[in-house]
Every structure is written in structure tokens, then in C-alpha cells.
């Protein structure tokens, strides 16, 4: 029987439906860089509940999900808005005990993703010794090196149900590429995706498979790691996206200011998220002028 190859290109709404209440969701990107915001909006719109969110270095992505009451537990080394300050919803929720936050150091978070990505049961670290990272004992145990007798902390591998990432381009089969000139930090996104059972990737552009084949060393996730691809230009906004567009500091300040109170945050969400039925409507509200202002026009050397 002759069969067709699987086309993994789906809509944002369909992608959101792949996530269930109670899932462990790993979110790629770091600080104010390339978080998959289109998917974050969709998770909020679909009112997912009791998620455990995992990241290594997070910002508005975590803050918005926490503010919208989608989250039960969160793991990261950082939740803040970087250049524009602290993350107001995150602070409120953790201070009021509404969300359990588990602190990791950067290396510990990445170690845990790598352990997941490489199929190891745990990672070994000495980072948590004599500090309070050990305050969540169910995630870490002491082990002894049988050769030297040294004590190590075993960090349980992250095994998320689903990972979400925003990337530069992909073909419809799910071969995902990052531009070769990029923050090398982004390699961590690959570990994050590889640690998960399912992966959804939003991209700036869909390209022909021929273009992927012409530049194979740029494929950071081959299709068998990827379950769904969603086209979402400016899909990281207001975060930056490598050489393609800048951090939108203007909108981020607006988000920060409105989020300072619960009422203000609700107003922000009503205006930008709940009343937008898809990502294009959100971008219309941001406006073409603003998007043009943050857009960079570097030629990507491939």
C-alpha cells in the first residue's frame, strides 16, 4: 500500500489541544529571548490547569502562565523580566503560596534536561552541596562514587510530557533549524526538546524541504523529535529572536506596569490575549509599525 509522508504542520489551536491539564511542560528560550509566546498565549486561552512548568532561565513565559492560573508547580533558575525588572505575577503567586516554585541552579537545570535528553536516570552534581537547593529532597538524593568514595548529589532527570519551543524555520515534516548565527545558548533548547515525550515547535517561517537539505548541519531537531510544527511569525514577541528581531522593550514595560496589580494583569490579558482568537490578531494589536521597529534585516549567512 502506498502511503503519504506525515505533514506535521498544524494550527496553533490544534497544538494547544495536544497539552492536557496536569502535564509537565518544558519551555525553551531563556530570559527575554525566544520563548514560544504564541503557544503560551494559546495555553492561557485554552485555560489549561495544574501544569508543572520546567525551564532553565525564564521570563514573561512563566510569569504569564502563572498569572493566568495555569500552573501548580514551576522549576527554573530564574523567573524575571531581565532588563525591565522583576516578574510581578510570579512574585505574587509564590509569595502567596499559590504556586510551588522549585529552585535549581542553571547547571542543575541543564543537567536535568541533559539527563532526560540522553536517557540517563539522573545527573551528578556537587552544586547543591551546603546550600538550600536541597530543600526539595524528592528531586535529589545523595549517592557515593564507588571508586573514590566521594559523595555526589543525584539530580533526577527532567522527563516532561511536552516541550514547546520557538525556532527560526522548519519544513512541514518537522525538521527544525536555527539560523547559524545565533546565541549559542540556544543549544539548551535542543536538550529541552529532546528530554520531552512530545515536542511542539513554532517557527518564523516554513521552508521547502530542499532548503533544509541544502543546509543539514543547521538542523537542530530532526523530524523524529518533533510532533507538530506551527507557523507563527514574531512568535517570540515581546522576546527577541536572534538576528531576526529585537526584544520589544516598550511592550515589555507595558506588560510589567500593568502586571503590578492583579486587576491590571487581568486588563492586559483581556486586551491582548483573551480577546485575540489567534496569534495574528495579537500581532495586529501590537501594530505593524512597532513590529517594523524591532525587525532586523541582517542577511543570514548560511
Amino acid at each position: 500500500m502506498k502511503m503519504e509522508r506525515i505533514n506535521k504542520l498544524i494550527t496553533l489551536k490544534q497544538a494547544g489541544e495536544m497539552i492536557s491539564d496536569g502535564d509537565k511542560v518544558a519551555i525553551a528560550g531563556s530570559l527575554i529571548r525566544r520563548h514560544p509566546m504564541a503557544l503560551v498565549h494559546e495555553i492561557v486561552r485554552q485555560k489549561k490547569k495544574n501544569l508543572t512548568i520546567l525551564g532553565w532561565n525564564n521570563g514573561i513565559d512563566f510569569d504569564m502562565l502563572i498569572g493566568a492560573e495555569c500552573v501548580k508547580e514551576a522549576h527554573s533558575s530564574y523567573v524575571g523580566l531581565s532588563n525591565v525588572g522583576l516578574a510581578p505575577n510570579f512574585r505574587r503567586a509564590v509569595q502567596e503560596g499559590k504556586v510551588r516554585f522549585v529552585d535549581h541552579s542553571e547547571t542543575c537545570a541543564i543537567d536535568k534536561f541533559r539527563a532526560g535528553a540522553t536517557g540517563a536516570p539522573y545527573a551528578l552534581s556537587k552544586t547543591p552541596l551546603h546550600n538550600d537547593l536541597q530543600k526539595n529532597p524528592e528531586y535529589q538524593k545523595e549517592v557515593t562514587d564507588p571508586f573514590t568514595g566521594e559523595k555526589w548529589i543525584a539530580l533526577e532527570a527532567f522527563r516532561p510530557n511536552i516541550a514547546i519551543m520557538h525556532a527560526h524555520r522548519a519544513d512541514i515534516y518537522g525538521n527544525v533549524q536555527l539560523d547559524p548565527q545565533r546565541m549559542m545558548d540556544n543549544e539548551t533548547d535542543i536538550l529541552i526538546c529532546k528530554s520531552a515525550d512530545k515536542v511542539i515547535v513554532t517557527v518564523e517561517e516554513i521552508v521547502e524541504e530542499e532548503e533544509i537539505i541544502r543546509t543539514p548541519a543547521q538542523t537542530v531537531l530532526s523530524k523524529f523529535f518533533v510532533d507538530a510544527v506551527v507557523l507563527a511569525p514574531y512568535g517570540a514577541h515581546p522576546n527577541s529572536c536572534d538576528l531576526r528581531y529585537d526584544f520589544d522593550i516598550q511592550h515589555s514595560r507595558l506588560y510589567r506596569d500593568m502586571s503590578l496589580s492583579q486587576e491590571g494583569f487581568i486588563e492586559y490579558m483581556d486586551k491582548y490575549v483573551y480577546s485575540s482568537s489567534n496569534w495574528e490578531e495579537y500581532l495586529e494589536k501590537i501594530g505593524k509599525d512597532r513590529l517594523d521597529a524591532i525587525t532586523r534585516t541582517d542577511i543570514i549567512r548560511r
Binding site: 530570559l31 529571548r33 532561565n57 527554573s76 533558575s77 530564574y78 523567573v79 524575571g80 531581565s82 532588563n83 525591565v84 525588572g85 522583576l86 516578574a87 510570579f90 512574585r91 509564590v94 509569595q95 503560596g97 516554585f101 529552585d103 535549581h104 541552579s105 542553571e106 547547571t107 542543575c108 541543564i110 543537567d111 541533559r114 556537587k126 552544586t127 547543591p128 552541596l129 551546603h130 546550600n131 538550600d132 537547593l133 530543600k135 566521594e150 559523595k151 548565527q181 545565533r182 546565541m183 549559542m184 545558548d185 543549544e187 539548551t188 527577541s240 529572536c241 536572534d242 538576528l243 529585537d246 526584544f247 522593550i249 532586523r296 541582517d298
Partner: protein, 273 residues
């Protein structure tokens, strides 16, 4: 020549940098916090390279060994500019981890919400961990630095809320209990008022020098624990004209570092003195 507090600190810190070692500077956030955590260490690093440590390099987030002269410094610290910042290597996080875990990091520049008498630092929360008064962003790579760097240099605001007897959360391990940790612990604390180091016998913080124009009384009143005070405390050596000239013409003429202009959220430390 007159000098600012930022300049005084940058020059003082540069004197403690050794040739051949590597320093870690985070990418930083904005405003005053940026000046302490990033701006001052960056200027101190370049000054050290120009004066006595030509083989000293910095790791600036994923940018390894960047060109630190003013004309090469990017306009902003946003991603597209950072990628274009001339440097010898752009490294993966994986790579950065190896550098720490393999004991190749000389100085970790750090700044925290709290630092205690033993040099433990806290950037996680104020108040009880389970029920915090103020919840801060999180430990970042600070535990890694404290565990692995040969020396930690802390740059802090000097007041009783920051310098406390015991931190509410240890995100960076100080000098009291370092069993099993390869790094050397915290070496210096540089503040708006003074320079402190640690007494190797007691592991407690002790006064090393007082900035010109500041008083011992001011320091005692603004420290939330009993600071060890030697019989004779010198003044911090003022910045000389050569250093100031280098900073103002070659290293940081447009105040990208010392006034955080690069972050587009400029600030100054002076108003807090």
C-alpha cells in the same frame, strides 16, 4: 582628577585581577544592579588587561573573550548586538558548564540581595523560603560559581538590609562550610563604603579599607552584623589619573558600562551613597 564611585570600584577591583585567569561576568539585567554585576567588572577587566593582565579573559555569558575596547562594545546588550560583538568564541552553555566544573574559572563576579558575615549570598528570597516576604528571580548560575570558581568577588550595596548576620537562603556558599566543594570561596566584598575580605581563622568578614570620604562609624551603622575591624584600617587607594584617563577615553567614554547606558536603562550608584 575627581572620580566617581563607579570609577573608584572599577579601579580597585582591577588591582585584584591576576594575569592568565578568567573571570565570569553575567549578561546582567538593567539599572543599578547591572552596574554592580556587569558594568564595574567589565571596566575593571579591561583596565586589568591594559595595565597588568594581558592574558586575562572574560566570559560574558555565551560571549567568550570579547574585544573590550570602547569602539567594539555594542550599542545595546540585546541579542542581535551581542551576537555581533567581536569575540574569539561563542560558546554553548554546555561549554560554559565544563569551564566551571573543570575548575577553569578564576573569578566569579557576583552581586546579591543579601550577603552574610560568612560570605553566603542570597538572590532567591527575603524571608522564609516556604513563605517568602520577597520572592526574587532565582539562583541563576550563582551556586555553580560559588561551588567552582577559584575566587568570588561580591559587589554589593552597603546597608543593613543587604549585609546581614545570616542570609535567608544560601544561593552561593560562603566560607564557613565548603566540604566537598572544589572552588575557593568568596574573596572580597566591594561596597559603596568599603572593601572587605575574610579572616581565614574565623571565616568572618572583616574590613580591609574604607573609601576616601567615608567613615568607620558609617560602615558600622550600615552593617547588619558585627564586622571584624582590624586595629588599623587604611583608605581605599584612590584612582590615579592614568587609570581614569584610560576609563574615560579608551574603555568607557559613553558610560555604557558604568552608567548602564548599554542596557537602555541608565542609572548611577552615587545617589545611594
Amino acid at each position: 582628577m575627581k572620580y566617581t564611585l563607579e570609577e573608584l570600584l572599577a579601579v580597585e577591583i582591577s588591582r585584584h585581577i591576576k594575569d592568565g585567569e578568567m573571570g565570569f561576568v553575567g549578561v546582567g539585567t538593567g539599572g543599578e544592579a547591572f552596574i554592580r554585576a556587569v558594568g564595574i567588572p567589565a571596566v575593571a577587566s579591561r583596565l586589568a588587561q591594559l595595565c597588568h593582565a594581558p592574558n586575562y579573559t572574560i566570559m560574558f555569558g555565551p560571549i567568550l573573550d570579547p574585544v573590550l575596547d570602547a569602539e567594539s562594545i555594542p550599542e545595546t546588550n540585546f541579542e542581535p548586538d551581542l551576537i555581533r560583538w567581536p569575540c574569539r568564541s561563542q560558546i554553548t552553555v554546555e561549554e560554559a558548564l565544563c569551564i566551571f566544573k573543570r575548575g577553569k574559572m578564576g573569578i566569579g563576579f557576583a552581586s546579591g540581595a543579601q550577603i552574610d558575615a560568612y560570605g553566603n549570598m542570597n538572590i532567591v528570597c527575603v524571608g522564609e523560603y516556604k513563605n517568602p516576604k520577597v520572592r526574587l528571580p532565582g539562583p541563576l548560575a550563582q551556586p555553580d560559581h560559588a561551588a567552582h570558581a577559584k575566587r568570588v568577588f561580591a559587589i554589593q550595596k552597603h546597608d543593613c538590609r543587604t549585609l546581614v548576620e545570616k542570609v535567608d537562603y544560601i544561593s552561593a556558599t560562603g566560607n564557613q562550610n565548603r566540604e566537598g566543594l572544589a572552588g575557593g570561596g568568596i574573596a572580597f566584598v566591594f561596597t559603596d563604603l568599603a572593601v572587605m575580605d575574610f579572616n581565614p581563622d574565623t571565616d568572618r568578614m572583616r574590613l580591609r579599607s574604607i573609601h576616601p570620604g567615608k567613615t568607620l562609624k558609617q560602615i558600622i551603622e550600615n552593617t547588619g552584623f558585627e564586622l571584624e575591624i582590624p586595629e588599623k584600617v587604611p583608605f581605599t587607594q584612590p584612582s590615579d589619573d592614568r587609570d581614569l584617563e584610560l576609563i574615560r577615553t579608551r574603555i568607557d567614554p559613553s558610560k555604557k558600562w558604568l552608567n548602564a547606558e548599554i542596557t537602555k536603562e541608565p542609572a548611577t550608584l552615587e545617589k545611594n551613597v
